[in-house]
């Protein structure tokens, strides 16, 4: 892991430099004719009403919360998958209990209509 770490950092830097280079090129080559109308947000050609800092459906928030629960579960499952053969029965049973609890939670969320988008 340790000798691979610099490669990852290098990759992030290289990727950032590539994007930066392209954006610099477009600033250099592209025309610069600012105009107050160009700075307006696109709203199908009409003059915009208010801005986009407006409320949106809570469903997205619920989906995000449930995702967080299951993503943490995934974070537990990956090390388990590698150590699985050494853990044998104990590992299998304890993870299945964990999954069963989550499955009950999922069933509850489905029955409460969290995923019914209207």
């Amino acid at each position: 892991m340790n000798d691979n770490f610099p490669i990852l950092i290098l990759l992030f830097l290289v990727a950032a430099v590539v994007v930066l280079a392209f954006l610099a090129l477009t600033v250099f080559f592209g025309p610069k004719r600012p105009n107050p109308d160009k700075g307006l947000p696109f709203e199908c050609g009409t003059v915009g009403v208010g801005d986009a800092r407006a409320p949106f459906p809570i469903k997205y928030y619920l989906a995000g919360i449930i995702f967080a629960v299951f993503d943490v579960e995934l974070a537990f499952l990956y090390p388990w998958a590698v150590a699985f053969r050494d853990l044998r029965l104990v590992g299998f049973v304890s993870m299945m209990i964990f999954l069963a609890i989550l499955a009950v939670g999922l069933y509850y969320a489905v029955r409460r209509g969290v995923f019914e988008w209207k």
Partner: protein, 330 residues
């Protein structure tokens, strides 16, 4: 010192590959769609089959004015393309193109891929919110809800090969499938390996926001979704990442389920590994394009329903049966 130079050369090669693949894939998609609709597609630019068309488009985008809306959140608006591009490119470093062709064979490779591709969601949310435009906001919210939802079945089905091989290193996962196509993970523990592959592939089409899962940027309802306010090269970065992401999800599917760079039969071993790998990836990329030009768009309730009520329980059952099988039957 030599190792460092080799690494840098490899990274440069990977980036060159990403750009040429994205340009090729855009051209290829136009050709595929034209072929499916009985049209010709690009024919003029560059002579043979209009192969220069996407390069000409890229140059055109380079010559466009860089517009940032006056009421946009400027720092985040500028940062978003970087996040999306780094998230896409980051995955390439652990993908094994062949027995010797892997940037960094991390022992947590699979975990790293899942983690790094989450950066794309953050970039998309950032772009949508910072644009301060209603289309962008709705596109970003839909996109984030969709990507994070499908992340869960993806993670669960990728666990199946990890359990079978007992490792998370991408290279070891590919090596574990050597010796003929019956050792490939999608044929292991039948039919659960195949089910995991299908769940992964469908969910990954959703992950890259393509039809039939393209409500985040459905042009007939949301203009261009989170990318509405982006123009010129900034937009090109999102576009490029989207096509590069198609390759990333296909490469993960190939490495984990379809034998990676291994030949399907051992007498075909004389063909180098990278060629097999690219052939398999291109086949999956073609299937993604085929889906796009065949299926209509799903509604948002169907989308979330399929993910949480079908894919997730199926992945749970898969995981249960495969781990049971690995403990007692095998």
């Amino acid at each position: 010192m030599l190792a460092t130079l080799l690494t840098i050369a490899y990274l440069v090669g990977v980036i060159a590959f990403v750009f040429s693949f994205a340009l090729f894939a855009v051209w290829f998609e136009r050709k595929v769609s034209a072929w499916m609709q009985d049209r010709l597609g690009p024919m003029e630019t560059g002579g043979f089959q209009g192969w220069l068309q996407t390069i000409a488009d890229a140059v055109k985008l380079l010559l466009k004015e860089d517009i940032i809306p006056a009421i946009a959140d400027r720092p985040f608006f500028r940062l978003a393309p970087y996040m999306v591009f780094i998230g896409t490119l980051g995955a390439f470093v652990v993908i094994p193109f062949g027995a010797q062709f892997v940037g960094a064979d991390l022992n947590v490779g699979l975990y790293y891929v899942i983690a790094i591709s989450s950066l794309v969601v953050i970039g998309i949310l950032m772009a949508g919110w910072a644009s301060n435009n209603k289309w962008s906001l709705y596109g970003a919210m839909r996109s984030a809800a969709q990507i994070v939802s499908y992340e869960v079945p993806i993670g669960l089905s990728l666990l199946v090969p990890a359990i079978i091989a007992g490792t998370l290193s991408m290279q070891s996962l590919a090596v574990a499938q050597q010796g003929g196509f019956w050792n490939w993970n999608f044929l292991r523990v039948p039919p659960f390996g195949l089910m995991a592959f299908i769940v992964y592939f469908w969910a990954s089409v959703a992950e890259v926001n393509r039809i039939p899962f393209d409500i985040p940027e459905g042009e007939s309802e949301l203009v261009a979704g989170y990318a509405t306010e982006y123009s010129g090269m900034r937009y090109a970065m999102f576009f490029l990442s989207e096509y590069a992401n198609m390759f990333v999800v296909s490469a993960i599917a190939v490495t984990l389920f379809l034998g990676g760079w291994n030949a399907p039969l051992s007498f075909l071993d004389f063909v180098p590994g990278p060629i097999w790998f690219l052939l398999k990836c291109m086949a999956l990329v073609f299937i993604q394009m085929w889906l796009r030009w065949t299926l209509p768009r799903l509604r948002v309730d169907q989308l979330m329903g399929v993910c949480w009520k079908v894919f997730l329980p199926v992945s749970f059952v898969n995981l249960l049966v495969v781990s049971f099988w690995m403990l007692w039957v095998r």
